[in-house]
């Protein structure tokens, strides 16, 4: 049992490099560790390049990096990863184990929570520490952000996933020092039942949706895939990318990697232009962090006008060509 309270975060890899959420997880871990008088550690499970990545994690703010390195982790296979993470958590006994609320994170967290019989709060957007009890308070949206629930855990490790972009990232600092602690784990081959056959990329050309400064999104009101050409044109002029609502993806007007929303990508551009999008809570959860939201919709009663900063009540087929003409 550790005496100091250790905040451990999971360093997810994305194409061999640290995932962008590492800086957010590190910033959050630091602030909670300071409030609890604890320390910040990172857990890296990697197939190669472990030392370089560990040093990068130290620059990101980890005081300790637990490094599980084995060529069997070249692919992010959940069944081997969860075994590795479980064993590290049993050794380290962190107060809080944080993961990013990514497709990988939301897959690992509940598996781990059952194995450790540990409390789990997913998709959290804010954390605090209760001054009197020193309990960690995790806030998460419910009912598509209509409500907010503040949750506490009765046992350690408290496992939690942090919504992407919910908090400001830490600054990297190459002068930081820390310890790299290699950990050997045993993988039970009987638990490896799923076989990865291949990975496919479906990404559009241009900037990534989550990094874009300008996002032009289309929804049900677009009516058909061809109408996204207007959005593409506007996005190109403004140096942005095209996204869409779940309806647009369900109708195959866009690939699923372009979905903005609770179960898609969380975006926080400088400018978000929502075209023919009603403003369903599931969609707004993904774009409400945008600095400026413009809504273009025929229906003046559309809920999007309650969440947008600028609104045009009109048909996009008339509105967009005018905007494009002026911005060219």
């Amino acid at each position: 049992m550790t005496s100091t309270k250790e905040i451990l975060f999971f360093a997810q890899l994305s194409n061999g490099a640290l995932h962008r959420n590492v800086l957010e997880l590190s910033a959050l871990s630091r602030s909670l560790a300071d409030k609890l008088g604890g320390t910040v550690s990172a857990l890296l499970v990697s197939g190669s390049n472990g030392e370089v990545l560990s040093n990068e994690l130290i620059s990101c703010g980890a005081e300790k990096v637990y490094l599980v390195e084995d060529t069997s982790f070249k692919q992010p296979a959940p069944e081997s990863y969860v075994q590795a993470i479980e064993q590290v958590c049993r050794q380290v006994e962190p107060e809080l184990f944080l993961l990013g609320h990514t497709l990988h994170g939301v897959d690992l967290a509940p598996r781990l929570a059952w194995r450790l019989k540990a409390p789990l709060a997913t998709d959290c957007i804010e954390f605090a520490v209760d001054v009197a009890s020193k309990k960690i308070l995790a806030t998460r949206p419910v009912y598509g952000s209509k409500g907010l629930a503040v949750m506490t855990a009765s046992r350690r490790p408290f496992i939690a996933t942090l919504r992407n972009k919910a908090i400001s990232p830490a600054e990297k600092d190459e002068s930081r020092i820390g310890d790299i602690i290699p950990i050997k784990i045993n993988i039970d081959p009987a638990q490896l039942r799923i076989k990865l056959i291949d990975r496919f990329k479906e990404e559009a050309i241009g900037p990534k949706l989550e990094d874009a400064e300008v996002v032009v999104s289309g929804g049900r009101g677009l009516g058909k895939a061809e109408n996204f050409a207007l959005l593409e044109e506007l996005a190109k002029i403004l140096g942005g990318v095209v996204g869409g609502s779940r309806v647009a993806v369900d109708n195959k007007w866009l690939p699923s990697t372009r979905q903005v929303g609770l179960t898609g990508t969380m975006v926080s551009p400088r400018l978000y232009i929502a075209v023919g999008i009603s403003g369903a809570t599931q969609h707004m959860a993904g774009c409400s962090q945008s600095k400026h939201i413009v809504a273009i919709n025929k229906d003046p009663e559309a809920p999007i006008f309650k969440r947008a900063h600028f609104g045009v009540v009109g048909d996009f087929k008339q509105v967009l060509p005018t905007i494009i003409g002026m911005c060219k």
């Binding site: 009912y143 990697t257 045009v312």
Partner: protein
Amino acid sequence: MNIIVCVKLIPDPEAPVQHYRIDSSGNRMETVQGVKPVVSPFDENAVEAALQIKESHGGKVTVLTLGPPASQEALKRALRMGADDAVHIERAGIPEPSPHITAYLLAKAIEKIGSYDLVLCGRQAGDWDQGQVGCLMAECLGIACVSIVKNIEVVGNGSLRVQRLTEDGYELMEVPTPSLLTVSNEINLPRLTNVAAMLKAAKVKIPVWSKEDIAVDTNLYESLESLMHIERLYIPEVSTECHIMMGETAEDQAVNLVKTLRNQKII
């Protein structure tokens, strides 16, 4: 292929926030009258996926829910879509956000139902959106699990080929049975009910099981029940002032929009 699908009845997630309030316990969101309950959308995708597999490979689809008596409506909807059987685990005072308990009770019911090849559920419920129950259940059952699946194909020797969403595309995986998959909306568009299924559904008797019927381990149940606590549940004030563009025509409004965005140095 025998498939068990877990479904949940929730208040329509698209109902406006004004139709929601916090109940007197302070731990639950309740809706005012008029908000219709629906089957959680991803669960409908799971039912549809099960029906498609049954139609091309044979077998049986059983739907399972946990909740108060009214939640049987979710089972009836699935039966009207074409499911063959339904089981209702009646909820006795389970606090709302307790995924461990939900997963444990569903897993015990699945064990009691017995022979199955595949368990399907939605990637997350449209009310609390926690996305935990599927993977928790698979761990509890000790079966293989792939979450957030957008395509399922039955191949020979009782295996499945599934496509799992990733941040930049998807992974193709081969999964043995029995296994559990959680599905995402990309997988299909759920069907409406049809007359033949409705006639058949009306005749299905839905057994109601209690905790005692499914051999729950009391010690484990109690320890899972106490893992998480809601300190506070509230509806935040959201007030955004929307500047609606003036103009006789849509074009005029568009011109004003561009001018406004330029004046404020947004573009």
